[in-house]
């Protein structure tokens, strides 16, 4: 029940991240096309891509990556353990990770609220408020923290029902390998 709820949010966040990626690509292409075709680039492309799309596409998929076991770790020692010990280890490690991302979520939220109150704005060729996407960072870290706590409770309480999604069916994309 809780798992399904977390999964729903995880997927929506991931979808938004994908949208940000595609929009970033389209936006940059439009900028290039307009610059070379009519000599008038879209003003603020660099700022919008960096402050909006980039934040969205890097942070929003955080939980989805964890869901696919895609965060990089060293499995040299852990893979030699028995399945039971592995489960306990991963349960504990998830708690440790939850501490880090919880810490980030907390501090980044306070920071985002502060920046919203002063209405943080980029001023250059145009005036662009850049505080709104700051909220994506604590939200995504918070979601990941919730997922990690849920995962660790399940693993440590000995709930062995499968939780991980099946690995991608292709040669690459099983998480660990698809990224270098």
């Amino acid at each position: 029940m809780i798992g399904r709820f977390i999964d729903r949010i995880t997927e929506s966040f991931s979808l938004l991240g994908g949208l940000a990626l595609v929009l970033a690509m389209v936006h940059v292409n439009l900028d290039v096309a307009l610059r070379y075709l009519i000599g008038a680039p879209l003003s603020g492309t660099i700022e919008i891509v960096s402050y909006y799309y980039m934040i969205a596409l890097v942070f929003l998929p955080l939980a989805a990556v964890e869901r696919r076991n895609g965060h990089i770790s060293v499995e040299l020692v852990s893979q030699k353990l028995s399945p039971r010990h592995q489960r306990i280890l991963i349960g504990l490690v998830s708690l440790v990770s939850a501490v880090y991302f919880g810490l980030l979520a907390w501090r980044l939220w306070l920071d985002a609220v502060e920046k919203a109150q002063v209405g943080e704005t980029y001023t250059g060729s145009l005036s662009l408020p850049i505080w709104p996407p700051r909220f994506l960072m604590p939200l995504a870290c918070g979601l990941l923290t919730a997922l990690l706590i849920y995962k660790s409770v399940r693993l440590l309480s000995g709930d062995t029902r499968p939780m991980e999604k099946p690995a991608s069916h292709d040669g690459i994309g099983t998480g660990e390998e698809g990224w270098s």
Partner: protein, 435 residues
């Protein structure tokens, strides 16, 4: 404890946490945060923890990484690269070990659309290994040559490894990419020589294949892949002529790849979704580590470790060459166990200041690191490229046999590495020409 002792304790804690399977991003972040707390106090530590994620991610240069990844994944999933092996096969069929050399050629050309050696190995291996085995090639040679060819992917531009290195080292991306070009070609040539040598020593391993290929067939195959070639020329022409920034080159390349794939009818919604998901997965996994690596850089700098290391090494009168030798050793050992980007982000905070202090050319150093990390993709016990090939071809070949097939190519890589160390111009020639 002195600040320096805190740094050293921190580094030990980091290794301990990593061995306990704590994700690299978390281990880096937590250790650095705790260290900063000790060194500069909790208030500053919290302030860095809040400012660095935004500072690192909301960065225009970094946006080139997802764009180049997207371009590579679109090419991969839309199978824009399948024709490359066909071209290489037809053009190189006369050579002994021709199919193996064709795999290397296909690897080198696929490198020009993807920055990832794993995607590169997967793309080649899927087509070339079955073909070679069908023609009676030794299986371990067939699998080994494909795993090795993949590593050219991180040398010939675009290269995600070099991109991330450039951002961290504050080295310009254009010259860095150019610098990778000749070493990539050199790698391919040395691999081809290794194949020729094997074919000479063990004729049974790579039997000659007589296709009776005509020039008409060769030209037809070339014409068939012309859209992909156009993509490469468009992207790099734009990048190196200064028309595009790296981000723009990647974004234009991704869109061009998408348009070509749609026109050729090899793109559908599912494949596009896969390309997007893979891009997000890689981008997020990399950048969340980059945040931790940035925190580590601050911690080691503020704790005085960076200066101490640089002074100690300088005080010991180590020549730059010795320094490079040590670095090579460290990377080769780490490469046996960890993934390339993880190693790079872990070690750059320590090595970069050291290299700067020793006045080592940072572009050349980047190429050297890329080469070393690529070798790490092939070395046992953890050789990701080997696992990728194994994953693709399944039960046909045992993993140990692939590692055996790699041996010749690792020797070729050692030759390439020595040439790079003693003739830095192989890397620096092209960037110097442009300037």
């Amino acid at each position: 404890m002195s600040d320096l002792q805190i740094c050293i304790a921190g580094l030990f804690a980091l290794v301990g946490l990593l061995l306990l399977r704590v994700p690299v991003a978390v281990a880096l972040g937590l250790v650095s945060f705790a260290g900063l707390w000790e060194v500069v106090g909790i208030k500053s530590a919290f302030s860095m923890l809040t400012t660095i994620p935004h500072e690192v991610i909301a960065n225009w240069t970094l946006t080139s990484v997802p764009m180049f990844l997207l371009m590579g994944f679109i090419c991969y999933y839309a199978k824009l690269t399948e024709g490359l092996f066909e071209v290489a096969r037809l053009w190189l069929s006369r050579l002994p070990g021709g199919l193996a050399i064709a795999s290397i050629g296909a690897g080198a050309s696929f490198s020009a659309v993807t920055g990832s050696s794993i995607a590169c190995a997967a793309a080649i291996g899927r087509i070339a290994v079955p073909e070679m085995v069908r023609r009676g090639y030794d299986k371990s040679l067939a699998a080994g040559v494909c795993a090795a060819s993949g590593t050219i992917g991180s040398m010939i531009p675009p290269s995600i490894l070099l991109l991330i290195y450039g951002i961290f080292a504050e080295a310009p991306i254009g010259p860095l990419f150019l610098a990778g070009f000749l070493p990539g070609i050199l790698t391919a040539i040395n691999y081809a020589l290794a194949v020729l040598l094997v074919a000479r020593l063990r004729p049974g391993a790579a039997p000659p294949v007589e296709f009776g290929v005509t020039w008409r067939q060769r030209v037809a195959a070339l014409r068939h892949t012309s859209p992909t070639l156009l993509l490469v020329i468009g992207v790099f022409g734009g990048l190196f002529s200064g028309m595009f920034t790296p981000t723009e080159a990647g974004a234009v390349g991704a869109l061009m790849a998408l348009v070509i794939a749609l026109a050729m009818g090899t793109m559908n919604w599912d494949r596009f979704k896969l390309a997007v998901v893979e891009t997000l997965q890689s981008t997020t996994a990399i950048f969340i580590i980059a945040i931790g690596a940035n925190l580590l850089t601050r911690f080691l700098a503020l704790g005085g470790f960076t200066d101490w290391l640089a002074y100690t090494i300088a005080g010991d009168g180590l020549s730059p060459l010795m320094l490079v030798a040590i670095v090579c050793g460290v990377y080769l050992v780490l490469g046996m166990f960890l993934d390339p980007l993880g190693i790079m982000l872990l070690t750059l905070p320590i090595f970069l200041p050291l290299m700067e202090a020793a006045d080592v050319n940072l572009i050349w150093f980047g190429i050297l690191i890329a080469k070393l990390l690529e070798m790490g993709l092939l070395t046992p016990p953890v050789g990701l490229n080997v696992f990728v090939i194994k994953g693709i071809i399944g039960d046909m070949i045992r993993t140990e046999a692939i590692f055996r097939g790699i041996l010749w190519f690792l020797i070729a890589d050692c030759v390439t590495l020595l040439l790079l160390v003693f003739f830095p111009d192989i890397a620096l020639l092209l960037p110097n020409l442009i300037q």
